[in-house]
Symmetry: C2
Subunit: 147 residues, 2 copies
Amino acid sequence: MQNSEALALAAALLAAAGDLTQRINDGVVARGFEARPAWGFAFARLAPDGATVTELAGHLGVTKQAASQLVDEIVRKGYAERRPHPEDARARLVVLTERGWACTRAAEEAAAEAVRTWVDVLGEGEVRALRERLGRIAPNGPIKPAW
Amino acid sequence: MQNSEALALAAALLAAAGDLTQRINDGVVARGFEARPAWGFAFARLAPDGATVTELAGHLGVTKQAASQLVDEIVRKGYAERRPHPEDARARLVVLTERGWACTRAAEEAAAEAVRTWVDVLGEGEVRALRERLGRIAPNGPIKPAW
DNA sequence: GCATATAGTCAAGCTGCTTGACCATCTTGG
DNA sequence: CCAAGATGGTCAAGCAGCTTGACTATATGC
């Protein structure tokens, strides 16, 4: 594979990821929730059992102060709440509210809707194959913005 | 395809894109250039014939002021220079310097190196297929951060 | 040739992140 | 058991990269 092809692959990957993210977010907003794309990854970590701010920070690859600000915001908007941690009096467990769960379901619907346009182009089998291959090469580290 | 699978596809796409971007950037830095990931997309638009600040802004999906700041930075660091536009006295043509070209080649090498680890996992054919499929679903709009 | 559109810049402000300092609580070794 | 260090969380200040708004210089169209 030539060097320039590798860069083209990277560009296509970024473009597809950015497009999908945008459309999922638009779909979530269209369903009546106000959300930022980064929230999706926070929600994924909070579901199903909640998480501490520090755990969330590790998952998102940011400082705990930044994670705490993000929690402030989703709490203020009613998507989650802070509870005392059952086993550690220092920590606080952040859990999704019913509204938070509804937003999560909306994100899943919006994602399915966005992916459907890909199925129209590539067919169901190829999209599945795409997902399977991405799963094999995607790292398990913190979720970070693409740039 | 179930809704939750669509979200998993989005997550895998983001993770792969973020990982690749990170590794390309690391590779560029290791080759002795100081660069930010967003620069790659600016460089791609500047090569081969240069571009105006406004064209660059459209390509990157930001305001022309933001694009101008980015140009300030890459000019200051010697990767590009501003020239009078040959056909429009209002405009200035931003073109890569030799150092800018060297940085671009370094990015291509780093991308090839990063993709090579994927080839090890998936095989050459599958990576090619991945690229081809992403090319078919990637939009042609402005390049925007994944979130 | 004048009115309007466009390329670019300067300035100010905002947002989301960082680093640094700090307190409360947990854990561990003597 | 308890002192010392590690860890969870917050407050405060600062910074980077973007935005909006205002402006100048040049181009374009009637």
